[in-house]
């Protein structure tokens, strides 16, 4: 009987102990992977490091002027997921096709178009139109960055680089030149005339704005990366330098009499448009969207590795 008990006990112990030493599946059960953190030995490209570098941007959905942005960004990364920084852009302008189209417009006689009694001072003539529209000159922001995404990408299945995704929020100022306010009835529209002579005066304006955006940074090594970001920095301006405010009042209809075509004022409503003023009320919101690409250098040059 003792022998049977011994044999049975041996068999049970064998089963139990063998189970503990079964290799392949057991590693998955209780091996080094079990309970492991999502990320280990993370190369910390940001934490307690400065990031700085040139930025090149372009504003989207431009109506009258293209804006090419040349700037720089400086950030201090307090944590791997938190940064504070400054970004500034100087803006170079170029006319859009619309501005070129109007600037080159000609009347039936082949002369440059001029304003009429119906649309002055909203329109200052083909020769003045490029000067009439607003020109963005600069964008200067302070911002806080949050970096919730961290990963890696494979390019052509050959090149593997680290990448992070960030959002930023901040505020600052926009510098631009906008057409000087003027009142036709007060004869304060400079030396401009209905024949298109004279010149438009733009004044420099700086206005506050907030900024928000998203971006990605790829890291080629410990100290250099490439960033791509999308930014919103909305503000109000009079983009076209035109008279915009007011509800319909007098409207002009194209009338043909004796083979002569002209604009005839017709009362179409009780509104006050056009009021003959270029005023603050003519300003509207510009979402001021832009995309930018930049090179980022990190200091100190060596990144730490998390445990």
């Amino acid at each position: 009987m003792k022998r049977y008990i011994f044999v049975l006990a041996f068999a049970v112990v064998s089963v139990c102990t063998t189970a503990k030493t079964a290799t392949a599946q057991e590693i998955l059960l209780e091996g080094p992977l079990a309970g492991a953190p999502a990320v280990r030995k993370l190369v910390q490209y940001r934490e307690m490091r400065f990031s700085a570098g040139p930025q090149f941007g372009y504003t989207l959905l431009n109506e009258y002027m293209h804006n090419f942005m040349l700037g720089a960004k400086l950030e201090f990364n307090i944590l791997e997921w938190l940064s504070v920084g400054l970004v500034g852009y100087y803006v170079v302008n170029a006319p859009t096709k619309l501005t070129t189209h109007i600037s080159n417009s000609e009347d039936i006689a082949g002369d440059a178009t001029t304003p009429a009694d119906s649309n002055f001072p909203s329109y200052t003539g083909a020769g003045n139109f490029e000067d009439q529209v607003s020109h963005m000159k600069g964008l200067y922001m302070a911002q806080i960055g949050l970096i919730p995404l961290r990963g890696k990408l494979a390019v052509f299945e050959k090149l593997f680089v680290a990448i992070d995704g960030y959002i930023f929020l901040g505020g600052g100022v926009v510098h631009f030149e906008e057409r000087e306010l003027c009142n036709r009835s007060g004869d304060s529209c400079g030396d401009m005339n209905l024949d298109g002579s004279g010149s438009v005066v733009r004044e420099s304006r700086i206005t506050g704005t907030f900024t928000f955006g998203v971006g990605f940074t790829t890291y080629f090594n410990d100290w250099i990366g490439l960033s791509l970001e999308y930014r919103l920095a909305p503000f109000k301006w009079n983009a076209g330098g035109t008279d915009e405010a007011g509800q319909a009042g007098t409207e002009w209809e194209l009338v043909e009499e004796d083979d002569v075509v002209f604009w005839d004022p017709v009362e179409k409503g009780s509104g006050d448009y056009p009021d003959g003023n270029i005023s603050e009320e003519d300003r509207s919101w510009n979402s001021n969207q832009s995309i930018s690409i930049g090179v980022i250098f990190h200091f100190p040059l060596e990144a730490t590795v998390a445990h």
Binding site: A24, N119, K152
Partner: protein, 336 residues
Amino acid sequence: MKRTRIELAVMFVALLLGPTAVFAQDEDTMSFGEEEVEAAPEEGEVEDFTGEEGAVPGEEEGMAEEGEGEGGEGVGATDEDVLSALEDDEDLEATGDVTVGAAAPGEESELPGHPIWAVQQVYALRAHRVDVQPSFGVSMNDPFVQHQSFNVGAAFYITEVLAAGISFNWYRGFNAPTETNFSVSRATHQTVPINEYMLGAQINFTYVPIYGKFALLKEWILHWDVWVLGGGGFIFTRPYAVIDPEYREFDFGMKFSFNVGIGGRLYLTRFAAIFVELRDYIFPEELESLETYSTAEDRERKSDWIDDNYKLTNNVMLHIGVSLFLPFTFDYKLPK
């Protein structure tokens, strides 16, 4: 003596059967999603890496250099963890021509010295699947008319990175002149020729050169990829009559178009993703003639309504939609 033999035989059998009698997985520390279980290869199925997903081992090597890992997939294993473990064994290399999988008891593992050989799989295989992409699009570069469209595309992935497909866009009813168009006309008394679109269709080739993953707050792994595409097709457009709307009325006409684009996709599951795509449809556009005439006879002459010169137009559309891979499930070539 005989009894002794029987007893020894029982003990020997117990030793042999022991490993096979134990549970292979511990319920407390092991969990699989349903789809992983369904997608698991059949028992005994063992294949070599063919290079088609050769990025898997390669990717892991690249990841190892960076020192990252990830978890939350199946066993909660991280590729980095695995690689770290492998590196600890010094001699192991993540080459793709080895047989992968845990050695069953009684079998001899082909891996020297370490029982783990878990190369993480690409999250969603694309080869031989159809990617159906319904989406909504808005134009990005026309300040005078906001073109919006409903789109659907279908692309068959010939390999993991190359697909051929078709796409269709419906614009009619979703074109709207903008405030800028109104404002410019009102202020300058000038009009700019503008057009509306009806529909478009294209044949495209798609290439996926970039894929990657993000750790969201170091916890959740998000998989994504980026593609470029290009192709040709047609688009039906017509001018809005703005120069002389009293007389002019235009019909939709077909133009051949080319398109190039770039898109990115964030996987929600192994068969569904959300995507954003920027695509430029390039075509020669007919514009309304700026010439006006004084007599009714001249104004009625249709041949004078259209400008003689075609204008090469770039219609840049931003598409946002869902990417659905069919069939929903797929089999990995190798076990996890």
